[in-house]
């Protein structure tokens, strides 16, 4: 599995958000997107997910341009912005609803995802009783529960306590062998611990900074 971004640009009206970005993302590495807020990290993540179309350039998944076929990249899961869970359902039921869309995992796998994010004890609590950090954990759980080939996490560690962040870092390092993992954050320390390659976003352009 590899993702190639070839001269990708994105404009909204006449404002350029992403300009001529080239990237090669391969299986087995964790990629970090670093940069201040508003530098286009989330836009590029949405472009990779297929929610936005590039104004120019192309994004290829194993050589296939899914945008041209009006399809979305297969087996990709993402945590982008704040997920919209149902407030009156429990954390577990919210995940179950999402899992039912593709119907390929069991309750045990959902519970396992909740355990990874340290939310197993609150699984039966209603979502509207969750704290900000717990909501974020549930967002991560929905992204990882179906064991995707491509995992995209936008600002995943916001509001989460350090012990869970460390557990998640270990988990992501453990699963990266068979996946492409992209993590975007404006907190550089998180990426230094986690990412194999960091792309720095600034003024629409992207520079590859670190390559372990």
């Amino acid at each position: 599995m590899k993702i190639d971004l070839l001269n990708v640009s994105k404009n909204f009206k006449n404002i350029t958000i992403i300009s001529d970005v080239n990237m090669k993302l391969k299986k087995g590495k964790i990629y970090g997107f670093a940069g201040r807020n508003g530098t286009g990290k989330s836009v590029l993540l949405k472009l990779i997910c297929g929610f936005y179309l590039p104004s120019s350039g192309s994004i290829l998944f194993d050589g296939i341009n899914y945008n041209e076929k009006n399809e979305f990249p297969p087996n990709l899961r993402a945590l982008i912005e704040k997920p919209n869970f149902f407030p009156d359902l429990t954390g577990f039921d919210n995940l179950k609803l999402l899992a039912q869309i593709q119907n390929k995992i069991s309750d045990d796998e959902i519970l396992n995802a909740l355990e990874i994010v340290n939310l197993q004890d609150e699984k039966d609590k209603k979502y509207n009783k969750y704290s900000l950090g717990m909501k974020q954990k549930l967002g991560i759980a929905q992204a990882i529960m179906e064991n995707p080939d491509i995992l995209i996490l936008d600002e995943p560690f916001n509001g989460i306590e350090q012990s869970t962040v460390e557990k998640l870092i270990d988990y992501l390092n453990g699963i990266k062998k068979s996946k492409i993992i992209i993590i975007s954050t404006h907190i550089r320390d998180d990426l230094d611990k986690l990412a194999d390659v960091v792309f720095k976003f600034d003024g629409g352009s992207v520079v590859e900074e670190k390559n372990d």
């Binding site: 997910c49 399809e71 979305f72 919209n84 149902f86 009156d88 869309i101 593709q102």
Partner: protein, 253 residues
């Protein structure tokens, strides 16, 4: 069976979640206004079924009802196009469009039911206890049977029309879509002045708005046939636009 129940439960949860939001208050207010105005408009007949029929076929009620479902559709789409955790679980654009259309139909049915409860409540309030079953003024059947047919037809047409409008809004620019919704809503009032009797199916009205007015056909069977033909026309239009839309490359927001 258990799976079906869970699915139904999840869809109901979604609907109640959405209609508990503050923004839905405007929708409820529009629906209430749509029922109150014709209910107070001095109908001489106090019979419950007559009053229900009168409100349901009232152009003002239908105009406001459509406005409510149009506003609801806009709210719904602005919410769902940002639900990335759901969207990334679908494989292609066509599946997502189908998902949105399904949601629009679910919510349209829900709003139709809410609106019917309001119509029943408004009619009971002013019927002075006159609840005897009466005959339809033209057809040889009870008015309650005609009302039932009218409700089913309205639900089907509402779902078709909302789906078509949603697909058109994908093709058109935002401001053009709003103009289209306003014109379409206003047509409920404008077309109500040009009603005549229908005595053959080739006189059928292409504009679906006419099926919400109190138009008399030569007989009930003719009305059913015309309604079926109109349904096929709407479905054909829906299918054509759907094919056009899924061939287009476009963003979700």
């Amino acid at each position: 069976m258990k799976k079906k129940m869970t699915k139904l439960k999840s869809e109901f949860t979604e609907i109640t979640y959405f209609f508990n939001k503050k923004q839905s208050l405007l929708i409820y207010l529009i629906l209430i206004l749509g029922v109150i105005v014709p209910a107070f408009s001095g109908i001489s007949n106090y019979n419950l079924w007559y009053r229900i029929h009168f409100i349901l076929t009232n152009p003002f009620y239908n105009c406001l009802f459509f406005l409510a479902i149009a506003i609801n559709m806009i709210y719904l789409l602005s919410d769902f196009t940002k639900r990335y955790e759901i969207l990334c679980r679908y494989h292609n654009y066509s599946q997502i469009i189908k998902l949105f259309i399904k949601k629009i139909c679910n919510f349209t049915i829900y709003l139709t039911l809410i609106s019917l409860i309001l119509v029943f409540a408004g009619s009971i309030l002013f019927c002075m206890g006159e609840i005897d079953l009466i005959k339809h003024p033209v057809y040889n059947l009870y008015l309650i049977v005609y009302i039932l047919f009218y409700i089913i037809r309205s639900i089907v047409f509402n779902c078709c029309v909302c789906s078509i409008i949603y697909l058109i809004t994908i093709i058109l620019k935002k401001y053009l879509s709003i103009i289209l919704i306003i014109i379409n809503t206003a047509l409920y009032l404008l077309l109500s002045n040009s009603i005549e009797e229908i005595n053959h199916f080739y006189n059928l009205h292409i504009m679906y708005h006419y099926y919400y007015f109190d138009i008399y056909y030569n007989n009930f069977v003719l009305e059913v046939i015309c309604s079926l033909l109109e349904f096929f026309i709407l479905y054909f239009v829906y299918k054509i636009i759907f094919i056009k839309v899924i061939q287009r490359k476009r963003e979700l927001e």
